[in-house]
């Protein structure tokens, strides 16, 4: 992790009619950082991520992602980020190689480069014999590792992961986090959203959203100390419980 900022958010506000989904958010994320973005259902996480990934513009405030302004240069942002979610990432009825080719093409990579990266990627995952298999024939753990590798195929500045290890077995899960560590160690920022607080424990820093605002932002260790809690889950339950529930 370096001191270079890859995401800068200043006073971000997003309104839908009278409803304020993001209420004056300000935070920074650094190069090579693993940043956990937490909050209860409906806290405003999805809205914020859509803005950070260039899919939606802010109502007001300044958002700079990978050096590009979210309001003026959303297309540039899209080229410089990767995205993976647990539910959907790869096309089940295409082979492993076809999926890689498709994603590489979407990100405008040259065929030669895609081929080179495909070989490295398959070798790294010990996946050589799976190249021509359909995604639907792969076990879940392999699918998820592949989906992550595809999300960083074009060497983005930032990769967004939505509940990346939900439902996988504990060994695969750890192999997956090792891949995340390795990716972060070579300078790619990893932005993780999750409902599962033990995933949050792996992050360098985490933010917790509640009703459109960021109510806590620090390292997991510091938050646990501040709230006298044994786990991030305890911290979360202490501060993310909406007052009217």
């Amino acid at each position: 992790m370096t001191n270079n900022k890859v995401i800068t958010v200043r006073n971000l506000v997003k309104k839908f009619g009278n409803f304020t989904a993001n209420d004056n958010l300000s935070f920074e994320v650094y190069e090579g950082e693993i940043f956990g973005f937490l909050g209860a259902n409906g806290a405003g996480k999805t809205t914020a991520i859509r803005i950070l990934s260039g899919l939606s513009g802010p109502t007001s405030g300044e958002v700079v992602v990978a050096g590009f302004n979210a309001k003026k240069q959303p297309e540039q942002i899209k080229k410089n980020i990767g995205y993976m979610c647990q539910k959907f990432s790869l096309y089940e009825d295409l082979t492993v190689k076809e999926n890689i080719m498709l994603y590489g093409g979407i990100y405008g990579m040259r065929k030669k480069l895609i081929r080179e990266r495909t070989d490295t990627l398959l070798a790294k995952l010990n996946f050589e014999e799976y190249g021509d298999r359909l995604i639907s024939d792969l076990p879940l753990g392999l699918k998820q590792k592949l989906a992550f590798s595809v999300a960083v195929l074009h060497e983005p500045k930032i990769v967004f992961l939505d509940e990346p290890t939900g439902g996988v077995d504990p060994i695969t899960r750890r192999q997956f986090w090792e891949m995340i560590y390795e990716t972060a160690a070579r300078g790619i920022t990893v932005f993780v959203t999750t409902h599962y607080m033990d995933e949050a424990e792996y992050c360098d820093r985490i933010s917790i959203m509640n009703e459109g605002r960021i109510v806590a932002l620090d390292t997991p260790a510091e938050l646990k100390r501040q709230y006298a809690a044994d786990s991030v889950e305890e911290v979360f339950i202490k501060i993310a419980r909406p007052a009217n529930n």
Partner: protein
């Protein structure tokens, strides 16, 4: 104490895939019994057999003394089932969903309202809202109310907390605890190890096999090696180095640290010298208590290389 479920050697195949292998366990009356395991472990297949929706290929299962194949008609009346994927009609309102389930079981919401009061009161203010427009936490409460409305003796919940935020999940487990006073036995599945502690007993399940059945605390005690938590600012470097250290038995990332066991159950000065040589600085090592997940990892490894 009476055994509510008695399963002996249950097996199930789908084509070439052995979904369940020799599943043997018993569930006691009134307990919260958890099946903990990843996606694809066979939890849903097993639950579909318990709820008489699927026939086993091998083995025997009795539920409250009734055979899971021949007794299906009676069993369906006394089992409440909340499937993982679908149980609510999204285009019916909250109230309509609940009435529908009550009617199907030949009862009324009024008759068993006491049972669901604690749960349903959270969503009752929104009773005219379509189920499709509820938040994840509210859908979960409605689905639970629907599964309870005919006052079942056995409640079967397939991954009720998946995709729900931590606050709602914690509330959900509190609600299950409260159902105890109505003498309802609960069988529940989850892929999340941390939820094991909320159960009276758990079965760890992986690739169609039960690895262990016990009280969560006892499963933890099954981990007999000395376990150390090792921390350093550069986590990736630390894991790589620990893996390569000759004295290491296992090294797994665990949140902000790495859980390590050593071949000799302890370590000496050569470890810190080694880590220093590998360029890992700021290392702290402490002994720690194993959790369910540590034990699960250990059992998975044993199972893989017998």
């Amino acid at each position: 104490m009476q055994e509510v479920i008695k399963s002996a050697g249950i097996g199930k195949k789908f084509g070439e895939t052995q979904a369940l292998k020799n599943i043997t366990f018993g569930v006691d009356e009134g307990e919260i019994f958890g099946f903990i395991g990843p996606d694809g472990a066979g939890k849903t297949t097993l639950f579909r057999i318990i709820t008489t929706l699927l026939l086993p290929d091998e083995g025997e299962m009795t539920i409250m003394g009734l055979d899971c194949i021949r007794g299906y008609k009676e069993l369906r009346r006394i089992i409440g089932y909340m499937p993982g994927r679908f149980s609510l009609y999204m285009d019916l309102s909250v109230e309509e969903n609940l009435n529908f389930y009550a009617t199907v079981f030949g009862t009324t919401v009024r008759e068993n309202y006491d049972l669901i009061r604690d749960i349903y009161s959270h969503i009752e203010p929104f009773k005219k809202r379509l189920a499709g427009n509820l938040s994840g936490g509210m859908k979960q409460k409605l689905a639970l109310s629907c599964a309870l409305i005919h006052k079942p003796k056995l409640l079967v919940l397939d991954e009720p907390t998946t995709g729900v935020d931590a606050v709602s999940r914690s509330e959900f487990w509190d609600m299950l605890k409260k159902l105890r006073k109505y003498d309802i036995t609960i069988v529940v599945s989850t892929p999340y190890m941390d939820e094991a502690m909320r159960c009276d007993r758990v079965a760890l399940i992986q690739e169609g096999q039960v690895l262990s059945v016990d009280e969560p605390g006892k499963i933890r005690e099954g981990f007999t090696r000395k376990l150390y938590t090792v921390k350093a600012p550069e986590k990736y470097k630390l894991i790589q180095a620990l893996r390569d250290y000759p004295g290491t038995n296992t090294a797994y990332p665990f949140g902000d640290s790495v859980h390590v066991t050593f071949k000799t159950d302890g370590f000496d000065d050569t470890l810190s010298e080694y880590l220093q040589r590998m360029g890992v600085s700021g290392v702290t090592i402490e002994e720690t208590r194993a959790g369910i997940e540590d034990r699960f990892l250990e059992l998975m490894k044993k199972n893989a290389n017998p």
